[in-house]
Structure formats: structure tokens, C-alpha cells
Amino acid sequence: MSSNNNKFWLSLNNYEDKRSFRKIQKNEFLDGVTDDFNPEKLPEISRRKFLAISAATTAITAVACTDYRDKGEIVPYNKKPETTTIGIANYYSSTCTGCNNHCGILIKTREGRPIKVDGNPDHPVNKGKICAAGQASILNLYDPERLKHPSKNVGWKYQKESWENINKDIIAALDKAKSSNKEIAIISHTINSPSALKLLKEFKEKYPSTVFYPYEYYDNKNKIDAWKNCFGQNTLPAIKLENAKIIVSLDSDFLGNEGNFIENTAKFVSKRNTENLDDFNRLYVVEGGMSLTGLNADYRLRLSPNKQLEFILSLINELILEKKINYSIPSDFAELVKKYPLKQFVDKHKLNSKYVKHLVDDLEQNKGKSIVLAGDKLDYQSQIAVNMLNEIIGANSLYADTDVSLTNEINDFEILKSTNNLPEKTQFEWLINKLNNKKVAVVIHLDCNPVFHLSPDYGYERALKNAELVVTFTKEKTETSDISNYVLAINHDFESWGDFITRKGVYSLQQPVISPLYETRQKEAVLLDWLSGKPNEYKEDIYHKYIMSNWEVNIYPQFNSKAEFKPFWYAALHDGVVQIESNPQNIFVFNSNSLFDIKPKTSTESLSLLLTNNYTIGDGRFANNGWLQELPHPVTKVTWDNYAAISPETAKQLKLKNFCMIELSVGNRNVNLPIVIQPGMADNLICVELGYGRWQVGTVGMSVGVNAGIFIDKTGNKFISDVKIKKIHGNYKIATTQEHHALDDEFVKDMHKKRKIIKEATIEEYKKDKKILHHEHHPDISLVNRKKYTEMKWAMAIDLNKCTGCGACISACNVENNVPIVGKDQVLMGREMHWMRIDRYYSGTPEEPMASNQPMLCQHCDNAPCENVCPVVATNHSPDGLNQMAYNRCVGTRYCSNNCPYKVRRFNFYDFRDHFEKGYYYQDSLKLVQNPEVTVRSRGVMEKCTFCIQRIMEARQEAVKQNRKIKGTDVQTACQVACPASAIIFGDSNDKESEIYKQRHHDLSYYVLEELNIKPNVTYIARLRNIKSED
């Protein structure tokens, strides 16, 4: 049956085709459908009226509730602190404790909150300069992941607990340990605070079973041991680098991260003055990896650290036996040295014989004015050999005498250390033994992280389980705090009191500049609280009073001050530092018996590993600081990672490519690391930086890099031979801010020299021809009318002779100008926001490159190309020569950035504070770190260096106040203040008396890309290489 013929029906009525159904079908409505409808009963409001009313209500509520005229509130102080003036910054001097150098700092606070840190200009050691980490450490104060209260481990989690209860528990545990005569172990970093040392001594008196275990992750034990043996003194002297004409660095990164590199940098560059050509120093660097110091070398030789001892002996051989320097060495040693002729060494290791010859000649000719610096990582024997070599070349006249003899307080530390009667090298072995034998009752970690720092050979983490109680003082979550019974949240430096001995007779004070943001306490105050035994009677100022009374009784009398103690103390706090003038004469008598310790082994050619200090995040303590993680590595420009650096030659042999992954193994331990091919490295050597790969840390530092510290064994040696590497599958994404393998490419090779981005000369060339850089002349033709700047015109000069490329300027700029942290993924896309970068160029061959640094920032060109292309005139020129950027006006076309030949403009592809880690840097506490004088830029606008316009305006305000004109010297930019080498000069280029005018008209001054005729206002002073003309 076909369905087409089907008849469909709705109901039986329909089927039967009844009349009633037909009617229903025909009519729209059924009969009587409106029967009940009564319009009278309907509501009176019609549909239209209803709509009108609801619209009006919405409008009225919208207007009434928001009160569109409301402008918020102004909430003044109730009782204004006398020293605070709204809008005017206050400065407090204090001391930085980011590392053991204890630099004096000056903290800028606005309305009571710290916003910027700089060096304390009155401090005799760091003289107003601090490093990149010190600059950025302010972020740690406001870190949203700081521990906000003390907590107790209750098995499965850390639970908030009151200070009183925790302290009661700990005091009970300490008393128990005392009565049962079980050990109380205090583990800390080196302490050189006189008051803290006194406190610890008192602690030891009350709890006699206390044993102290001080350690450093980046130690110089070998150096100190050798020094002790050679000169019988426990502390190393400062070196008078400012008097040295020839400096030879043997794997010593003295400008980058060893010793007080800030002080070293200032002293080193003091002899790089283009006004004083005859007094230029010459830097030889002999090293395995490529360090920041290596970047600045005049002559650089590649040598693996295990061959340094032979090299030193060969040098001694050459100087004594060939050059016949008048110095008698012990006959046994002479016999030894005889076995190491320099020529043979040079041939064997394919060193540049010309460079070595220059080195030997220089050492011979500059007796008393040259010094050899041995790196911290070199072994004990090399250190002794270097001390010997320094004796031969008369370098002992460069040892600063004021710093050697031990002060009473440092002696205290030595006494403290000796409580365990153990040599430093084996102390932890003892501790582990005692822990495993359950002889330790309480372990106290004084703001240190041994679980991360100690060699895994100790099995410290496991051993800690045998302690009855583990107490960790810490600012943020660490590997150590994660396995402690009590985690005591401590104050940040800026919330703490302290006193430190930077040098003999130099006392640096630390004072709080903000009251604790959270329920934290100062660690010394907690110790005092334990000593008092009355945790309920704790007072905030307990340690403050303790320091003051210690000073009044013990330290103040040493000064023979005419002032009473109180005025003396307040003056000292104000200045941040006090100094005892003394003039001790230390005679350095070399103990030639120490030479018996030198028993060189023949070095092997196997692949070896050198673990180096990193340049930014310290011993891992700054891992959660985004500013530092994002600061480009001074050599490779890598951010957010560590990696295995390897020489191009070795990479070729092992068939490794840039960024490929390898498995690095020593014994049964291994890690996976990306390869970075580093020009200028010694062959058969891998360099990996320490401090990365923290596994218990905040969001920012989590899974950044790899912990190469697992390769350190109990000896603490950071040079490890016989390592194996295996290429493993996959490539790694490394976020560098600069292409760093440009050397291989013929097209871009030496591009910076061809385009005259980097201009350099040797001293001899320059002496012969002062105009050597200015032989080329560019036609001064312009399409646009050039504006004349008759009054004030801001300009900057950067002396490339002085710039070492350390990056302190970038860090200072970030803090001053609210530069956001973008994260690794964004750096990979080239979206880093730094207003300033340090370009690092190589020239020469990949094996033996020469490096050139160049800080690059907005050049504030007179004929700025960015200005012509902005469709909304958001960027234009000010009458005082600044290229100004009005964020409100910017619509984000990015034309300006496209047209900038220097590539210094930065675009906010996101509101990066919001974008990074789901708004990590948008949290409340981080609003306090922003400089209130600088706009916080949001998504979609362009930004760039402003020459610190906020500082210019502040200087202008002061000038108006004094009814005078603003002067060029009134303003110092943030980078200028920070630069440890004082390479940056800023001022009014129309003022003929000024330093900047002098620099701009210097024979060595040049503009980058001068031929574009855009008249930049940043002048570079070309670097003079102090090399001999035949090279």
C-alpha cells in the first residue's frame, strides 16, 4: 500500500467528518472563549506604561546608586608622623643582607612604604652602589607568598599557630635537651653581626650543648685554607685593584659574582679612565667558562680549571728560570717547577703563545703593580701556587692591610665555629652521624636552606627525621621549611634591626623602615625570647634594645667618641655606617712550607663539569623574585633558566645543537639540561649555574631551571671531572633576549662592527690618532626642519670603557619605572618589557671571541623616527629634548616601535601584572611596590625609557622652590645611580661646564647608527682595548 494515499486524521470526530469538528476547524477560537474576560478587572497599568516605568526606574537607579559625581574619599592621617610629608620621599640608611658582602643601602620610602633601594653613598666599601639582586630585593618584601605567620607541622599540613604557643613548645624542648645533655644544632650562613654573635654566645651559655654549623653555598674555603697556610691569617685581604696595572684572573669572576664584586668593579674601572691613558690597566682572563669578567678581558685565554695549576707553575717557571726575576724560591719547589716549562704547556694546550708572552712580559715589567686573582672554585693547591706567584711578582703590596687582622667580633665567629671542634669541611658529616645516632634533640635553621644546599651525599633530609625537633626560621617556603616541625616566619631585612661588620672597623647598621607587614618576628628577637623563657612577655623592640645596649657597652667605647652614646647612636643610624679610624700595619710573611702541599697530578682530557655561581638569584634565595629571574644573564642573555654551556668545538664533536636536551650524569646521579653553545669556552668543559631548580618555592621560582647542586660531593668541589653526557630526545625552549649564535652566520658575522654599532680602538691607535673614530663623515641632510635647543637639553653618555655588563642598571630601571614581569612564555615571544637592555656582541672566531657590551635604551633622538609615524601624536618631543610618550594618547598601532632603529620601544601585549601566572603580580601586597610617580601601564600601550622624567620633574619642583633654574646636575637617572662602574653620565648637554658636555665632545664619543642622521641624545664613549698594537 502506498503511503501517498493515506488519509490522516486527528480524532475520531475528524475521521467521521462531523459538523462540530468542521466548525472548530473553520473558526480561530472556540465559542465562549472570551466569556470570562472583564476589562474592568485588569490592572490599570498598560504594557507601554509598564515599559516606560521600568525604563525610568532602571535609569534612576543607575544614576542614583552610582552617584556619577562621586570622586571617592581623601583619607588623611589621623596623627601625621612628623617626618612624613605626603608626596615627598624619605630615605633611610640600612644594610643589605642578600649576600655576605653586607653593602650599605639607602631605602627610599614614600608615605612609609619602601619603594626603591640604592647603595648608601656614605658607605666606605660599596660607596653608593649595589648589585642587581640588591636592587630587586624589594620585591621579596611584598612577595605575596611570603610566610605570614608561624606554623606548626601537624602531620599532614602546616597549621597556623600563635608565636606564644610555638615559643613555649620550643623552650620546653630546649630545656629538655639541656637537661638530657643532647645536642642543639644551629645551622646558619656566616654571621658577621656583632650583636647576633653576642646573642648566640649567650645562647650557648644558657644551653651548653649547642653546636653551631655555619656554611656558605658559594664558599671560598679553598682560598681561605690556602691563605691560612701561606700567611697564617683567617681572612682574605681586600685587593687594591685601583693600584693594579696588570690584573690576571684565573677563573676568577671578580667583576661578576665573586667576593665584593661591586667594590671590585668600582676599583677596576677607576683605571679605565680615557683621560688618563698612561694609567690604563690591562686585564688578562684565563678561564674555562665565559664569565662576565671574561667579557671585559683585554686578552682572554681558554683553559679548563683543572689545568690552572700547571699553568701557574709554568708561569712561575718562566718568570724565575727564564726571566730570572729576583726571587728565591725553596729548592724543592724549584725542582717541581722545573718540570713545567711554559712553552711546552702552551703548545700542549694550544694557547695563544703571543698572548701568553705578553702576559709574562707584563708580569715581569710591572712588579708590584700586577696581581693574579684565583677563582673561588680553583683547588687548594692552585690557590697556594697563586699566592706564591703573587709573592714573586710583588703583588703583596696590593693586599690592603686594613682588612686583614681579625676584629674581636670576627674572632667571636671563629670561636663560635670552633665550638664544634671540627674543620669546616667535615662538620656536616659529624652532624649527620650524630643525627643518625639520635644524639641531636633540636635542629635550628637560622634563615638558611641546607636541604637544598648540602650535597645529597650527606642524606641530610633523611637524617633530619631523627631529630626530635626541627625549627626553621625563614621568610618563605623552602625545601628545609617543608620538613620542619615548626616554621617561624621572619621579618624581611626592611623590617629588621641589625649590625654588621663589613670590614675591619666598618660597622654597618640595619634599621627597619616599615613595621612588619604580617605576623612575623625577627629571628634574633625570637632567640632572645627563648633565652628570656617568658614568651608571653614578648615585646616588639626586644632586639632593638639588645643591639643598643650591646653597642653602648661594647662597641661605642671603641670609637672614643666625644658625643654621648644616644647622639652617637642616632648619628650612626642616620648615616647607616660608622668607621673606626685605625692604621694597622700588617706584614704578609709568606710561609714557604705551604708549598709542600702542591703535588700536581697530570690533568686528564675527559669531559668535565664546572658548577658556577649564577648572576641573579644568589644561592637560590631569590628564586621567587620575578625581576631577577627575568634579568638576562650577562653573557648568554638567557632568562628564566639555567643550562649546560659548552664550547662550539665540543658541541660539534658531540654532535650537539643549541637548545637540544642532554642527560648529564656523574656517578649514578643525572639531570636533564638544555645545551647552550657558548663561544669562548674551553673545550671538553660543561658549565652549569647553581641556585636553580628549587623544588619547594613559591609560584614564580617553581620549576625554573635544574638543580645541578646534586653533583657536589662532600668535599664541596665544584669542578667535577669525568662526567658523561647523552643526547636525549627533544629540544628545549630557552628564552634569551638576544640571538647568541650569530657568530656562525656569514651574513650577520661582525655586523655590529660593519654597521659601526660598536666602535672600538686600541690605546696605542688612539694615542697616535685622536680622531681615529671620526674619519668618516656623514652628510648632514635632513628632510625636516631641525628644532634648535637653546636652553636645556637632556642627554646621556655611556662610557663603554667602564661598563662591565653586570645588569644593575636594568634592575634599577625595573624597580624605578614599574616595569612588569612578563614570564618565560612571553620572553620567548620577544615581549620582555625592560626599558634598558645590555647588548652583548661577539667578534672574532667562535672559539676565541672578543666581546663588547653596550647598554641600549631610548636614545631620545632629536629627529626621532618614532615620532613621525605615530598617527595620534602620542609620542613627540619636549622642548628640553626628551622623546616623550603619552600613554593616554597611545592607541597601540606599534608603528613607532616598527620605526625605531634601536628597538627600544616596548608594547604591552597584555596587562602583564594580570597576565603573569593568573594575576600573581596583581595581588594587593604588590601594589605597594609601585613607584607612585610613574604610571602603571596597562594593556595596549607603548612604553620606553623616559630618562626618568619623574626625577627630572622632582628636580624641577625643587628648583622652582628655590627660585632658580633647573641644572643638569640636579637629576640622576635610576640607572646612573645604580651603575657600579659609574659608566653612565646624565645632564644638560647645552651646559658647557658640565660633565655631559665634555663627554659628548670627547674624541671617543660616537652615536650608534649615526648615519641615519636622527641625532640621538645618548652618546657612547668607545671602548679602548689595552692590547698591544701588533695583535
Partner: protein, 190 residues
Amino acid sequence: MKKTVLDYLLKIRIPVTLFIILLTFAVTYFVAKPERDGIGYAPEQPIKFSHKLHAGNMNIDCKYCHTSVDKGRFASVPSADICMNCHSVARRDKEEIKKLVEYYEKNQPIPWKRVHKLGDFAYFNHSVHINKSIDCKNCHGDVARMEVISQVNSFTMGACLDCHRQAHSRLPELKDKIKKGPDNCNACHR
């Protein structure tokens, strides 16, 4: 020719409608401009402080309370302890003073309503103007006669530039003392 509906629409209805819309818009724009700029805004303050009484009748210098006006960017609203300099003895019986004392003693800041506001992107500097002898009145009006403080001038970029560019005609009494104000972006924006 027969007039069609379309003709009527095109020639009369639409132009008239458009004209009315535009006129309304233009009139509203200009009439409401002062209000949009905040002119005449005089919010109720937590304490009925009278500038007329203090600055007018008693002739207290502005700087006595607005202490930082010649020192930095902000004039600063006085902290309660400045009020208490006098009111720890003066007029303790008055209702408003009791409120003040209560705030002071409870150590609560007084939540004054903000009357004058610039965008956060503009960095106006009081001290530069005051130290160039430009009187408060020029922007804030005759405060000494205001019982309740209110905004009298518009605080727009146009208003700033108007004075900066024609300082001599706007402030004839300072003709010899000042030049014209800066009108580059960086003068206010950074």
C-alpha cells in the same frame, strides 16, 4: 505631482527628527558640560567644616592646614591632629567638633569626600604653582567665601592648557613674574 508617503518621509519627517536629535544632543552637551567637569560639585562632608569660617572670617592661612602645598605635588588634606591644635580647647561643645574629637580619639581617619580630582595619569604639582606665586583662588575659586567647599573651575586638560598657554592674560597680576606654563606632554604625563 502626487505627494507620496516617501516624499513626506524624506523631506520632512527624517530631517526634522534628525534635527531634533542633534539639537538635543548639542544642547545637552553644552548645558551639561560644567556638570560633567564637576563644576558645582559640593558633596556633604563627614564633618561640616566651613572654609568660610576658618579661611574667611578668621583669616587662617591656607598653608596652616594644607601644609605640603608648597613642598610637593599634593596640597594634602590636614590630618586630624592639625585640627586638634586649636580644637583641643576651642569650641569643644559644638556638635561638629565633638565628631572631630571622636575621630581623633578613636584614631580613625576622617573620610573626607574628594571634591577636586584629576585623572591618575596627570601628575599635577601644587608646589610648582604656589612657589610661582599663583594663588589658590585661580583654580579653587574663592574658598574663603564657601560655607561648603565646591568645585568652581573645570579640571580638564583643556582648562590647564588654557592657562598655561595664555598665562599673561589669565593672570595679569603675575605678568612680570611668570612666563607661560609648559605645554609639552611630559609636563603632566609620565
